[in-house]
């Protein structure tokens, strides 16, 4: 498997265009990584819709949870997958099937989640695909917050950053 590299400008464009994210595998427990990511993204103005069959009907972070992508009412531009690499395959296929109907443009697989075959199918269907990355960390990295925790963002620039990204 080759090392994945995403250009900063592409990730930035995704994070700027997306407003609503269906997060598959979002945990209701406050101290789980998925809950951390969702809470952070909410704070940045994204709407995060929980998709978690075990939690269908209950609320997570103030949003109603649904059993599957099919059941989410209304449009969402991004599917963020907090499941295993194998499980990401069929979830990606549902995203492809629902893309036109729901306005899905991006399939994002979390850190440690990578399914190259599924990614290929999504790309062929015209979707943007990001794998093995966390949108929270990418947001923090690209918009200047990650370094606050002493993390190496790798960003070198003498340009004055625009407020709010």
């Amino acid at each position: 498997m080759h090392t994945l590299h995403y250009d900063d400008k592409d990730i930035r464009a995704i994070l700027k265009s997306v407003r609503t994210i269906a997060m598959v595998g979002l945990s209701p427990k406050w101290n789980r990584p998925s809950n951390f990511a969702a809470k952070y993204l909410q704070g940045k103005g994204y709407r995060v819709i929980p998709v978690n069959p075990g939690q269908a009907g209950s609320e997570i972070l103030g949003e109603t949870a649904y059993a599957s992508l099919d059941e989410v009412p209304g449009p969402f531009e991004m599917v963020d997958i907090f499941r295993s690499s194998e499980a990401a395959g069929p979830i990606t296929d549902r995203a492809i099937a629902l893309a036109a109907d729901k306005g899905i443009q991006v399939v994002w697989m979390q850190l440690g989640v990578r399914n190259d075959a599924a990614a290929e199918r999504a790309r062929a269907a015209g979707l943007h695909v990001v794998m093995d990355r966390c949108p929270k960390i990418e947001y923090g990295r690209l918009f200047g917050e990650l370094g606050w925790g002493g993390v190496n963002s790798g960003i070198i620039s003498a340009k004055r950053p625009k407020m709010g990204g």
């Binding site: 790309r123 993390v151 070198i156």
Partner: protein, 433 residues
């Protein structure tokens, strides 16, 4: 875009560019170009929810300068970048950085292995003060890496060394030592103070954690005591059950699991969120500012430090009053080949020499020099000199002095950035006085 870019990342920026820019962008509000000194203890929350998120570590941001400070953060990111690491946490001194590291790794009853060739203060910290916390350090002669394997116990949770050791011109063969650590499933911690990331980057040789006394060459002007812990981000804390501190829910944080939640920057996050929070040895923003400013010229300074050190070492090596010179930059040094491998740009600027006249000649020398400052520090623009037997190592017996590389005849020099000929003339005068 549709996916990843198969061409890979653009070419990386050079060390010099990163030494000046990493971690520091113009201020988005004012446009201030240099990093401001955020001389503040605390930060106003946006609202109650934001405050809760910050306290839960759910969002990035500032609460209180014992934990994080925007000036200190710039230094942390810069050091992480220059070492080729993932993340860093700063501390009020090099010793405090070592404490944060071991407090994060060890439980009472745990053990670790350290090189016998360390800065004397580290030997005392590990051997005596850590003992009171229930941590046992086994000191080993790492010039033969097999000694480490022999000393490993099931309770050992780390290996610690100085790649270029203070004071003695010793260079350790880090690659095989890293292999032993990997095999044992424990992190290799390297104190890179003497080399700085300009001369050596231990992560490239298999280290997992790097610690610094930024007091020395990084701040570089003798202005600011400070320290740092940097993690490579590559160590798998879940590979065995030895690091519950990283892989089990943390009671000091409502059951948060640091490795799972923060991944490749989990160790520094934990060192900050628990050890720095609860013990409080923070770096001041003003000291961080001086250190950031120092690092911007690190590459230029280190080149001259090394050039001057080699000139002075060669001079001393040929001086009739000098018995021996221990500088890995000299071709005659037994560590010269290792220095060429790990420190190709130079073997630092701190070394020792032995005077034929013994103890009395040592005392006379430190009292006769005019340009060298007689004090207990290294890594200043100024050249420094000390006679360990009559100062830092006074209380030791002759046998202990010799084992510490601080026999009665030993002088330690830290070569600064003055005119090399002036330094040589000063030493020559003192040696023949």
């Amino acid at each position: 875009m549709a996916g990843d870019n198969p061409k890979g990342p653009p070419p990386p920026f050079g060390f010099e560019t990163r030494a000046i820019h990493a971690g520091s962008r113009p201020d988005p509000v004012t446009g201030a170009r240099n990093t401001p000194i955020y001389q503040t203890t605390s930060y106003v929350f946006e609202d109650a929810e934001h405050a809760a998120d910050l306290f839960n570590l759910q969002t990035f941001g500032f609460i209180y300068s014992r934990l994080t400070n925007p000036t200190v953060s710039v230094l942390e990111e810069r050091l992480a970048n220059l070492e080729g690491g993932r993340a860093a946490v700063c501390a009020g001194s090099g010793h405090a950085a070592q404490f944060l590291t071991f407090f994060t790794l060890l439980e009472p009853g745990d053990e670790f292995i350290a090189s016998r060739n360390l800065y004397g203060g580290s030997i005392t910290q590990f051997g005596l003060s850590f003992k009171k916390l229930g941590w046992t350090c086994h000191f080993v002669d790492m010039t033969d890496p097999e000694n480490i394997r022999a000393a490993l116990t099931p309770k050992c949770k780390a290996i610690f060394l100085e790649i270029l050791a203070n004071p003695g011109g010793i260079v350790l063969d880090v690659e095989p030592i890293a292999a032993i650590a990997r095999e044992a499933g424990i992190p290799l911690i390297v104190d890179n103070t003497m080399a700085t990331p300009y001369l050596c980057r231990p992560f490239e040789w298999g280290a997992d954690i790097v610690v610094h006394s930024t007091t020395k060459f990084l701040s570089g002007h003798g202005t600011s005591v400070g320290g740092a812990v940097i993690e490579s981000g590559k160590f798998d804390w879940a590979q065995n059950d030895r690091f519950p501190t990283m892989t089990q829910p943390e009671p000091a944080y409502h059951g948060l699991t640091f490795f799972e939640t923060f991944g490749d920057f989990g160790f520094t996050t934990k060192a900050r969120a628990v050890a720095l929070r609860d013990f409080g040895p923070s770096l001041s923003p003003t000291n961080a500012f001086y250190t950031i400013t120092g690092i911007e010229t690190l590459h230029v300074r280190m080149e001259r430090h090394v050039e001057n050190a080699l000139k002075v070492a060669k001079f001393l090596d040929g001086h009739p009053a000098v018995d021996w010179v221990s500088y890995a930059g000299l071709p005659s040094s037994p560590y010269h080949a290792l220095a060429n491998k790990y420190l190709p740009r130079g073997a630092g600027s701190v070394f020792t020499c032995g005077l034929k006249g013994g103890y009395d000649a040592g005392v006379r020398m430190v009292e006769t020099v005019e340009l060298f400052s007689h004090l207990a520090n290294i890594g200043d623009t100024r050249s420094l000199i000390i006679h360990p037997a009559s100062t830092t190592h006074r209380q030791l017996s002759p046998e202990q002095l010799r084992a510490a590389g601080a026999g009665p005849e030993v002088i330690r020099l830290s070569i600064g950035l003055e005119t090399a000929d002036d330094l040589i003339r000063d030493l020559d005068r003192a040696l023949t006085a």
